[in-house]
Symmetry: C2
Subunit: 180 residues, 2 copies
């Protein structure tokens, strides 16, 4: 075993749900010990920083049930089975903003809670293309807003944006633009 | 109900575990529909950006079982019952680096996966104080490394750092320093 590795010794599903599954595994640790590891299995998803022609980014205000509070986030969505990340991003951005994107740039991948959750989020930047109309899932209830990159940084530092992928993507887009 | 609000109608525990619990709730949505919501309950924790006297930050390389891969992250730890965030941060930074911190600054709170997980992470900056010795939990196996803020930004843009709190904290610390 590599010095940091942990090997799965056993796996027991404790919950098989709609979006997530939960396992309790026993793992072999490289230092000789064994440990119990709880794992939330999640399909992961994508986030999209879509910039309009005035340098404003489309943002979604919505209620997030997990934290019992509303948030302001970049548009995002879950992967569907067999769908690659760019396809998910292109589908989700139309569903939530009504606009297609163009000049897509892959910012990279982010893991929100790697200790106990398999979720990975692919992060994209795109520029606004033609309007084709929004279409929401029936249990989606969102308000669209638009902010410049500097406004987003201010909102992060003032704690009005606290969503992890939105914080990461704001600064990564800023970093990319500074390098150009 | 407020326009975006979702109200808990029922809650059923599907798993009560060591670190997490999982609920399946039925929720009333403001648009009149009802929806099923899965929620992972997690105690949350803190992350600490500890800077030494040469402008280098203490980083932890460790295996993260949830993503079956090692990561490079700021030192972090879970809240213990009844403990406030600053106490958790002061305890964890000694456990993982061996150093006490001083001149603590609260950067704010971040939610890694607000749709389905209650976890909140308190983020702190501190400067290195006296060495008092590391002490790990028996199933912890970590390597300590140190990097400057510019090196951390490079590692993020090269995708060698993909942990959400570490990305958020790196840029938030940079933002704070730029304002000084």
């Amino acid at each position: 075993m590599k010095p940091l590795e942990e090997k799965q010794l056993s796996a027991t599903y404790k919950y098989k749900g709609r979006i997530i599954n939960v396992r309790l595994d026993e793992a072999q640790i490289a230092n000789g010990n064994k440990a119990w590891r709880e794992v939330v299995e999640h399909p992961g998803g994508v986030g999209i920083a879509l910039e309009d022609n005035d340098g404003k980014f489309f943002m979604v205000r919505q209620y997030r049930y997990g934290i019992s509070h509303e948030t302001l986030e970049f548009p995002a969505g879950k992967r569907e089975l067999g769908e690659n990340d760019l396809l998910t991003a292109k589908r989700e951005i139309v569903e939530e903003t009504g606009y297609e994107g163009k000049n897509w740039i892959y910012l990279g991948e982010m893991v929100p809670t790697p200790a106990y959750d398999s979720e990975r989020i692919g992060m994209y930047y795109a520029q606004v293309d033609k309007y084709v109309g929004q279409h929401f899932d029936e249990d989606e209830n969102i308000i669209l807003e638009k902010y410049s990159l500097d406004e987003l940084v201010d909102l992060i530092m003032k704690q009005e944006i606290i969503d992890a992928k939105t914080i990461a993507m704001t600064f990564m887009v800023k970093e990319l633009k500074n390098k150009k």
